[in-house]
């Protein structure tokens, strides 16, 4: 059985709203690319 996984590498700051926005963007990108 195969698992298609994605590692999301972040550059987080102390701005939680900015971190959340970037995380969500990259999660959506990972899913769109098959994760």
């Amino acid at each position: 059985m195969d698992l298609r996984a994605a590692l999301i590498q972040l550059n987080s700051s102390d701005d939680p709203e900015a971190n959340l926005g970037e995380t969500e963007r990259l999660i959506r990108q990972a899913a769109a690319d098959g994760a």
Binding site: A6, L7, Q9, N11, D14, A30
Partner: protein
């Protein structure tokens, strides 16, 4: 101590929003990690990793056990236990791809935790991390490869990278190099520097195949400590 920007788990906006996103996308997410208020009277936080299922439900949560209390030399020192309450429970959770063991960052230096997870049936180990540029080049890959080899597990370690602007305290530089490693210790993917997504396909049959070749989990023996 209080930090008005941190919340209890039930009130955390990041966790709530990402659960919505995961439910919409129908994928699984290892979210590691979030700093959350513990609710304890001493005001300490927890460093908590979540495993979120495809329906957005929390399948597992893990509070980082080993606190990063170190002196790296010069002015670089860390006292994680000052602000964070350590966890005391190893966590492995069932997924559609087998059992997944949750660990975080500095935990990787404590192989007995990984042995425990493998003995509990884990096939995949997550290690979300923020390794420094001091320790990263020397220790990051070799430690994670060792954890994969000695457990016969896949290791998935997503990382922080770059300079982290913070309004209080000292700015930090993290190493990046998010990495995926197979049970034989081969690096399947290394993200290097920069922000982004790195994809990897895991052939999960490799767990049983590798453990059949090198049955070190099965061959483990009890022993007495040195006198």
């Amino acid at each position: 101590m209080q930090n008005r920007r941190l919340a209890l788990e039930d009130d955390d906006a990041t966790l709530a929003r990402l659960r919505e996103v995961i439910a919409e996308l129908g994928i699984w997410l290892s979210l590691g990690s979030l700093a959350l208020m513990s609710g304890d009277a001493d005001g300490r936080f927890v460093n908590r990793q979540f495993l979120i299922g495809a329906d957005g439900a929390i399948q597992a949560r893990y509070d980082k056990i080993h606190m990063f209390d170190v002196e790296l030399g010069g002015s670089e020192s860390y006292r994680e236990s000052k602000g964070y309450r350590p966890g005391g429970q190893a966590v492995a959770a069932d997924t559609p791809w087998g059992k997944l063991g949750l660990t975080t960052c500095y935990d990787m230096r404590f192989p007995m935790l990984y042995r425990s997870l493998a003995e509990a049936g884990a096939a995949i180990l997550t290690v979300p991390s923020a390794f420094t540029v001091t320790t990263g080049p020397a220790h990051w890959e070799v430690l994670l490869r060792a954890r994969a080899i000695e457990t016969g597990c896949f290791v998935l370690a997503a990382a922080q990278w770059g300079s982290h602007s913070i309004s209080r305290g000292r700015a930090r530089e993290t190493y990046g190099h998010s990495i995926a490693i197979d049970p034989w210790g081969r690096v399947l993917a290394d993200a290097g520097a920069g922000v982004g997504v790195t994809h990897v396909t895991l052939d999960l049959d490799a767990v049983a195949q590798t453990r059949a070749r090198i049955p070190s989990l099965a061959n483990a023996r009890p022993f007495a400590p040195p006198a």
